[in-house]
């Protein structure tokens, strides 16, 4: 009788184990569904907060500058007017942050966070393709479409220079920016670009 009971327990335990294994497999297969192919990296909180504060501070200046220059209609068929507006906006931003220098937004702590994220995404076999995308056609330092870009805070990003293609995996992992700002690469350097003003807000040299 005892032997019978014990073998029954063993069978029940084995069944439970099997069920657990199946459920683990199902969970695992769900985790690799197409939507989960690019997991979000969560940057350390303190560094993120510091970055957010830097972005907020810059955006206050940006908004002030937008309010100070003649408004541009939502659409205009006058390309000269559009270019003029962009130059005026950049000029006003420069006026409002005359002493801006490298590290103002990308502070040492933020820089560390950003470099770690990019390093993680550009390492290994998959990372090689990501790196190739960044350094390929579009990057102003690429052999295919070279264009001079003066890497300087408050400097103009020339309208004649192409823009590096940003791999989605990098954009998903880095903190999201307001829509007026972008991450771009000039060679191996990461820049924070004010795309409305075509102005380099800050940069981190040799990220790759």
């Amino acid at each position: 009788m005892r032997t019978h009971l014990s073998s029954r327990h063993t069978r029940t335990a084995a069944l439970c184990l099997l069920l657990l294994l199946i459920s683990a497999c199902v969970e695992n297969s769900q985790a690799t569904s197409p939507q989960a192919t690019l997991p979000q990296a969560t940057p350390p909180q303190a560094q993120s907060k510091e970055f957010e504060a830097g972005i907020d501070k810059y955006m206050q200046i940006h908004r002030k500058a937008v309010g100070a220059v003649p408004a541009l209609p939502r659409e205009s068929s006058d390309a000269a007017l559009i270019a003029k507006h962009q130059q005026q906006l950049a000029g006003k931003i420069r006026e409002l942050r005359p002493k801006a220098m490298v590290g103002e937004v990308f502070s040492p702590a933020v820089r560390q966070m950003v470099i770690a994220i990019i390093k993680q995404k550009t390492e290994g076999k998959d990372g090689a393709a990501v790196k190739a995308t960044i350094l390929g056609d579009g990057n102003p330092k690429s052999a295919e479409s070279p264009a001079p870009v003066n890497l300087a805070v408050n400097g103009t990003y020339p309208a004649s220079a192409p823009l590096s293609t940003m791999p989605p995996s990098i954009l998903m992992a880095l903190p999201m920016l307001p829509k007026e700002l972008e991450y771009r690469f000039v060679g191996r350097n990461l820049i924070l670009l004010d795309s409305q003003a075509n102005l380099i807000v800050d940069f981190i040299p040799n990220v790759l």
């Binding site: 939502r74 659409e75 000269a80 559009i82 962009q86 990501v130 940003m166 989605p168 995996s169 954009l171």
Partner: protein, 311 residues
């Protein structure tokens, strides 16, 4: 009583005849689930679709050089409109190479397509890696409404999605998912710069972009995708029931740019510059790729796959 019976019998015969005829019509319709990509090269331009036309449009990619080839393609496209009255043109990015000042907008866009612009033809642009977003999204003749990515519905049942493939971030992906979800059972036609399938020897497919974009295209039943970037024309074999075209040779050209080893090419043309015209007629799209000299280098038609869009 007898005449009543006769008229009843007559009505029954007529009803059966009508039913028979209806069944016959249905059986001649193609199976909506079957979607062959028929591509046959022909020597002269012809009307692509036989059915009642619903929407005709043209496609240009990688245009903004201001060079002779761009002007010649522009002239041929204008001439084509005489026999194929397309309603608008979509631009697949790199609309402006080099500078983007007022003079550039004239010599690299307004002049080459002057005749079309004069007749009121609209151009809908998407951004490439050579484009300055802020200058182009506010440029009225690109019809971007101040947005880097946008959607428009030229006719009932057809919706286009212009994407910025050079900066595909979370915000844009969420927007795209919402728009695709809300677009219901329409023809869904995204167009953007970087091809996610390509047999280009130089660039090849944008694999990183494919990872995030393709699941949405499949999930929401996208029918056809147009991309540029590669400076040649390529029609790909349908991938996951989606028809892909690459057209980045409307001004620039990479001769011999298509690798001969690719198993996904249905038809390629890398010997001269090209543009495309397309027509949607019901569930069918017909297309032609035409060279700078006016030769039809590829043509065909395909039916969109009847799929239930996921929610």
């Amino acid at each position: 009583m007898k005449s009543a019976k006769r008229s009843l019998r007559l009505s029954l015969v007529m009803f059966l005849a009508l039913l028979f005829q209806l069944q016959g019509q249905q059986s001649t319709r193609p199976d909506p689930g079957v979607r062959p990509a028929e591509g046959t090269a022909t020597a002269t331009a012809q009307q692509p679709a036989q059915q009642q036309p619903q929407l005709k449009f043209a496609i240009l990619g990688d245009t903004g050089t201001g060079g002779r080839q761009q002007y010649e393609v522009g002239q041929k496209l204008t001439a084509t409109r005489g026999t194929f009255p397309f309603e608008f043109v979509i631009l697949l990015g790199d609309n402006m190479y080099g500078g983007e000042n007022a003079k550039d907008f004239q010599t690299k866009f307004e002049k080459p397509y002057e005749a079309l612009l004069k007749t009121g033809i609209k151009f809908y642009a998407s951004l490439g890696n050579h484009d300055v977003p802020e200058r182009q999204i506010t440029y009225k003749l690109f019809n971007m409404d101040g947005k880097r990515y946008y959607t428009f519905k030229p006719k009932d049942g057809v919706r286009f999605f212009a994407l910025d493939s050079n900066y595909m971030d979370k915000r844009q992906l969420e927007w795209l998912e919402t728009e695709l979800k809300n677009s219901g059972s329409e023809w869904k036609i995204p167009f953007f710069h970087h091809p996610i399938y390509s047999s280009g020897e130089k660039h090849g497919p944008a694999l990183e972009l494919r990872k995030v974009l393709e699941p949405l295209l499949i999930k929401y039943g996208v029918d056809v995708v147009f991309a540029g970037h590669e400076h040649f024309y390529e029609r790909l074999k349908p991938q996951n029931d989606i028809q892909y075209f690459t057209l980045g040779s409307s001004a620039k050209l990479r001769k011999g740019g298509i690798t001969g080893r690719s198993a996904i090419t249905a038809k390629g043309f890398d010997a001269d510059n090209a543009f495309m015209i397309a027509e949607i007629a019901g569930d069918e799209m017909s297309f032609q790729a035409i060279s700078r000299t006016g030769t039809v280098v590829d043509s065909g038609k395909f039916r969109r796959v009847e799929r239930k869009a996921s929610n």
